[in-house]
Symmetry: C2
Subunit: 108 residues, 2 copies
């Protein structure tokens, strides 16, 4: 079951604008670190550190593919996560932008 420690950690992970932005992006689709860097315009280590927090909080899962690490939404242990995610702003257009600039990483 969920204890306070876990619950607090989950919400701490959600308590940052940058991470909310990242989760909003992952709501659209799975992305790798370098793509997130491109959208957010912050440094790669900053993104990696955010991803670690999200992963520790079990809000995302990772999948390695070649040199890339792709992250996607998880949060399955939090019954409420789904409804929180639904309230995130739509950022589809930011990913479209990536595609237009030819910066999407397309591989499996």
């Amino acid at each position: 079951m969920l204890d306070w420690e876990q619950l607090a950690e989950c919400h701490k992970a959600l308590g940052d604008k940058t991470r909310l932005h990242i989760l909003s992006l992952l709501k659209v689709e799975e992305l790798c670190v370098c793509e997130i860097v491109e959208v957010l315009q912050i440094t790669q280590p900053a993104v990696s550190q955010h991803m670690r927090k999200l992963k520790t909080a079990k809000l995302v899962r990772e999948r390695r593919s070649g040199q890339w690490v792709f992250y996607s939404l998880d949060g399955s242990i939090y019954p409420f996560f789904e409804s929180i995610v639904q309230t995130f702003p739509d950022v589809q257009h930011e990913i479209e932008e990536l595609k237009k600039m030819g910066l999407r990483v397309l591989c499996n």
Copy 2:
């Protein structure tokens, strides 16, 4: 509508064990500051500061009654708040304890 700033603030407020505990208590019933102090065994200013954060994040509302200020759950602007609250541990027994010790403030 909810913007990232608000969303992050709400989750920041939820990202602390002590505040989760307070919200769990308020889920049972409306309480005043001194009652919360009694249950949590932290100083009164600490509780007051937590209440301010929760109020700023619009997760609780306050009601003054005489020298007491009673807080109760709100969160109505967050459609997901209800489902989060449902996952909080049950702390009814802690309030029962207060009553046994004659420390409930009973007034309207």
